[in-house]
Symmetry: D2
Subunit: 424 residues, 4 copies
Amino acid sequence: MNNLESKLIEWRRDFHRYPEAGFLEMRTASIVASILDELGFQLEMGKQVMSPGYCMGKPNKEETEAHYQWALENGAKKEYVEPFSEGFTGIVATMDTEKEGPTIAFRVDMDALPINESEADSHFPQKEGFRSTVPNQMHACGHDAHTTIGLGLATLIAENKDSLKGKIKLIFQPAEEGTRGARSMAEAKVVDDVDYFIASHVGTGVPDGHFVASKNGFLATSKLDITFKGVASHAGGNPEQGKNALLAAASAALNIYAIPRHSEGATRINVGEMHAGSGRNIIADRAVLKVETRGENTKINEYVKAQAEAVIAGSAQMYGVEYEIQTVGEAVSAQGSTELAAVLQACADESPHIKASILEDDSPAGSEDATFFMERVQQNGGQATYCVFGTELAAGHHNEKFDINESTMLAAVKVLFESIRKLN
Amino acid sequence: MNNLESKLIEWRRDFHRYPEAGFLEMRTASIVASILDELGFQLEMGKQVMSPGYCMGKPNKEETEAHYQWALENGAKKEYVEPFSEGFTGIVATMDTEKEGPTIAFRVDMDALPINESEADSHFPQKEGFRSTVPNQMHACGHDAHTTIGLGLATLIAENKDSLKGKIKLIFQPAEEGTRGARSMAEAKVVDDVDYFIASHVGTGVPDGHFVASKNGFLATSKLDITFKGVASHAGGNPEQGKNALLAAASAALNIYAIPRHSEGATRINVGEMHAGSGRNIIADRAVLKVETRGENTKINEYVKAQAEAVIAGSAQMYGVEYEIQTVGEAVSAQGSTELAAVLQACADESPHIKASILEDDSPAGSEDATFFMERVQQNGGQATYCVFGTELAAGHHNEKFDINESTMLAAVKVLFESIRKLN
Amino acid sequence: MNNLESKLIEWRRDFHRYPEAGFLEMRTASIVASILDELGFQLEMGKQVMSPGYCMGKPNKEETEAHYQWALENGAKKEYVEPFSEGFTGIVATMDTEKEGPTIAFRVDMDALPINESEADSHFPQKEGFRSTVPNQMHACGHDAHTTIGLGLATLIAENKDSLKGKIKLIFQPAEEGTRGARSMAEAKVVDDVDYFIASHVGTGVPDGHFVASKNGFLATSKLDITFKGVASHAGGNPEQGKNALLAAASAALNIYAIPRHSEGATRINVGEMHAGSGRNIIADRAVLKVETRGENTKINEYVKAQAEAVIAGSAQMYGVEYEIQTVGEAVSAQGSTELAAVLQACADESPHIKASILEDDSPAGSEDATFFMERVQQNGGQATYCVFGTELAAGHHNEKFDINESTMLAAVKVLFESIRKLN
Amino acid sequence: MNNLESKLIEWRRDFHRYPEAGFLEMRTASIVASILDELGFQLEMGKQVMSPGYCMGKPNKEETEAHYQWALENGAKKEYVEPFSEGFTGIVATMDTEKEGPTIAFRVDMDALPINESEADSHFPQKEGFRSTVPNQMHACGHDAHTTIGLGLATLIAENKDSLKGKIKLIFQPAEEGTRGARSMAEAKVVDDVDYFIASHVGTGVPDGHFVASKNGFLATSKLDITFKGVASHAGGNPEQGKNALLAAASAALNIYAIPRHSEGATRINVGEMHAGSGRNIIADRAVLKVETRGENTKINEYVKAQAEAVIAGSAQMYGVEYEIQTVGEAVSAQGSTELAAVLQACADESPHIKASILEDDSPAGSEDATFFMERVQQNGGQATYCVFGTELAAGHHNEKFDINESTMLAAVKVLFESIRKLN
């Protein structure tokens, strides 16, 4: 094992032990910032690279402050952590070669999931002693590896700076889970100068050693939290004085599912949760719905979302209750740039770490908010792609026994670094 | 049988043979006008005594004109029918004694029901040859008798004019069925000068020869016709282009039934009919609902109606469709004036035709729009009551075999006439 | 203050400091049993006087065992508490005079409410140092006073045993709140030998020093907990594999509110709470509804309940989910026996503690499960009534500042004791 | 114009003048039978080739008998019409060459649509005097041409019998509109001996002179008529006695639209019509829904249909009403056999009438019940395809101005005939 590989493993296991939820990746970001600073990257952090109005589903102030204390007590780099203290945990690290050339950006994500990691002896992180130290938080989607790949790539860029051209930007994004963090960085214009944009993910069912140069098929999505506020009254004594938030919510739920199909592509709609009322004999004065819409493309998702909003407004009017719709997550659809994907595929095909490659995979997939960056880069005339490095999974994504083949990280670092050379 | 009684029977059977629906009582009204004119009453007719904006559920122009032709061909008095030709079929006939005294008003109604009268040999009108000549129209609620009682009362008033004081107003109201006609006459101020107002009805379950001086308990009611207008589209080809009026109406129907009870009194709500859509594979662009609300008093009914309106507006908003709410009938609640009722009871107790009497009956009842007159008179400081002359019924009201004991008419004429003397 | 009155206050304040929820009145019951035993009453306790199958909304085993430990540590009488350890906390205490005479029963209740008692200085229990020691438990409906009145009455009965006839039964009922406990005692036949049954309550809006001999108008009620069990699936990936419990519950809620009014009397229906689903993007596999039905009499409530059950079954069928309906509370309607009420009124009128009395109050009221005892006694030919001792309330029932005028307790004890003499 | 072409035009215009609805194609079938008999085909007709239990949406006896009278009076061939008198209007005509060879079947359909044909001077059938003679019936989908093509093909087969091998079966199917007729013929096993099955259609948006050898993408579909039967009652007087069919239907409609999407392919669902109730103030005792489900393949449609059935059953249970589900139309999905399609394409490419051809078109389409034949043939190891002969349309299918380029018929006859030679 070479030096870089052992470093990658060390980084990854450290991140894995200290998983942090979206917009709370303070410890992680401080370590990332510290390493990148040492490597000679220029750093922009926190609100410099995140537009606060576009953060979605961000934890409240109390929770954010409490986590900041936790981070300070759990290994955050004290000299670097302050910019992230309010929960704006994004970083853009730039290496300017000061030679003419393209601007190439790589995006990685850093957040964990609210899952209790397995304590089974067979679970590799448990066996090797790097299981999550935080109850109900776990890197169960590989973002610890993604952050690590970003640092590995930074290392190679720094080591090879003199032979490179143009600028290289590394984007460390918070809160990809729930598609909540990318938009605020895109709106902060961090990719507006980018010619080539590459996002990457490990796993996702792609076999170990295989590579997908352009993963398409991400569904556009909106995550909505709906609150209905009515008026409580005693259901036996004064039923007519209540404004029934439970009925408004039930009616909304039912009619949201009845939103018509769209002839131009697949749609999805779900009301995953409903909680209403405070007592059997009280007209419920409060109800919340957790809703998710999806569409095969952004336009179709916008259609479904608009219909859902109309249903919600109508339900509220029916029962004379007030309502609030909060968008707590959102992603658009995107189509990778084939030309850029071909460059990546070439790099992969030349790599000893990659056994097989696919140029484009259009099969339907979940949602990803890297699409906000892709859309913006392509609108500005640049190229963008979302690539996948296959790896052996111990269990599926979001599973308590999720784990990857750690050697995939070095493969990814190498292929991504080679793409810079090819694009120079 | 004396002369008056035989005249009553003759009139009643004539009206029975030619039943006319609400706002179409042209033949009936022309005959009434002709007789009252001859008896020396001053006549106000049609729009003179009806405020057009408050007619509810009035047949359209085409239907009204067609019926006018029918009336002309079926015995309408040609010199009197013209004022009723547009469907404003109310009459107020006034006998002014030119002596000081109170203004006393009596209300009778004239309209029939869309029922096919029985052809059974045992059915008295069939046996005696005065069955309805009009398919699907029948005097199945006794309004033929009411009109007749009004004429009988007019006869006695005319005969006894010299011994009477004050003014007597006879109000012949159209369209009591569906509670559609009274309000337009009340709004035309026909009872604004009235000191004593007496409405009467035969039957309603009161035994033959019995008398109720103040029938209370009428529920306030609103009859609403709702139309939703959406946008049709091919349900297979372009489901997203439709605006679904059927779904809006279904959602409205369901939620209308869910309107809360009222702690201050009984409510009723019904969506009696729904018709929507034009083809299996078309998103329905049109839906109609026929709705009825009721409340133990006017305030409660207004509450239910307002809730129903909110539900309808909300349903329309849910599906992006337009809607229209038409009030096609309405009645308020009312409480008879006990003092006036006591006068009527005294008259009844002195009458050889009446076996037993009750001062007040507060048990729940259907709806009656005479309540609009009662409310107006009482608001102006007058007294009002709604009395019932019991009669033997061959079958219940609104039944194809409905029939009354014809001798009840003379009893009613006598008691009502005596009340004038007592109130003078 | 005489000796009895100071004892009453002492008892009441002790109970007030240690409020216990329904079916968990172990400390309370052990103290009651200890006192009654000392006074010479025969005791039947726990399952002897409660039919387990008819206990409704009883806490689970774990909660019950935990509370038993709490009771042992918080003053329960160790020699008496064991029969109540499984949560069957009813007591029937009998004084048999061994002289011929009627069997007279008095019912009092013992349970508290899940309310956090006020810490305001102005709140009398706080000021006097007997505020609840238990977070989120409070005697906020006066059952501490009721239990005390039962003990005061027992004291007088014991003191005067020689001058009394027949048998006197004191029924200490658990879990009146939520109408959950009475039925299990009635089904255990504890009132089947009773000639006169008297339940009593303090407060309820009756002014201080006033007395209502027969409070009627209790609505029959059923409290239902509904659980729908479906199948979870990923809403984006495999929507067709889910069985949607949230939709079943929403549809049930909506249609439950749409249950028709009943022409024979008032009804109420409420879905007070709904909780469904476990994640935005998961088809919800579980939903619970908390439902309450009411009817002006038992038959009407049974009608509403049956309709609700049909709606629930149908909703489950719609979505292919399973369901369970648990009746967690129930009460019937009842009409007090006027003759017995008149006896009580006479006692009240003779009492120096009572300023004014009413024989019968038929105005609508909440629900009470003493009605199960009343119905049973009356069905067996006995007489029953539910009387109210007015008291000055610091705040309404179920309010965190609820408090009574403690002198009402002595008044109640005296009037109830006098009724025994009158009925002997 | 050669003799065959003029005959085709004559036939087509005759059929066009006398359009007949599905299962009522008595006149048409009698003429077809007469011509085929003369040409030497063996005929099987009516119930010989239709399984009565699988006829869907068949007109009732009264309507069928009335149409038989109409057919007799409007040119039906009296010697041939009797087998069709009960509405089983299918024909299978077989030409057995008595030489070894494959069995080849061609399907054409014969039914018209309930559309009032345009009387505009610019409308070709009007101008040329062959506009529909029947109000509200029109050949607006080209089935008159299809029947004619079948007869033209028969003519060529008869003329060339000696040079052909195997057997040729011509299937004249009733009631393709609403996908109601094919299944009954497939269930009668009329294609169970078939090696090659070819259905064809003119138009459908394919340009004039173009040819699609295998039109795929038909959605599987079910057409359901739902009837709910409840109990009427007076909504004011006895609301609790009703069983509300309107509410059951409204609830069903809403929840049918809420049936989840399917991850394996597109679905459609529509409640196109709802009609319920008989009076504003009556609890509705009857409601009907017209429903259509679709799925990208048969399995998906079966899923949607099963869900809809569960919703309907649940809605009925909710309101205690009875229900009936009638399947009045159904089609499966199908995929053409590429090998057979290639044969047809070759014939087309060699034809002077065809300008361009496509082997397979998989884009989504409406529904077609020829798929029942295709499925059956393929399940038995045969090959099947559905081909389209493009033509110039005056207006879209199902439009009152629909018309075709009549020369397409000869082109179709020739290509289809050549396919026999190629398959021999």
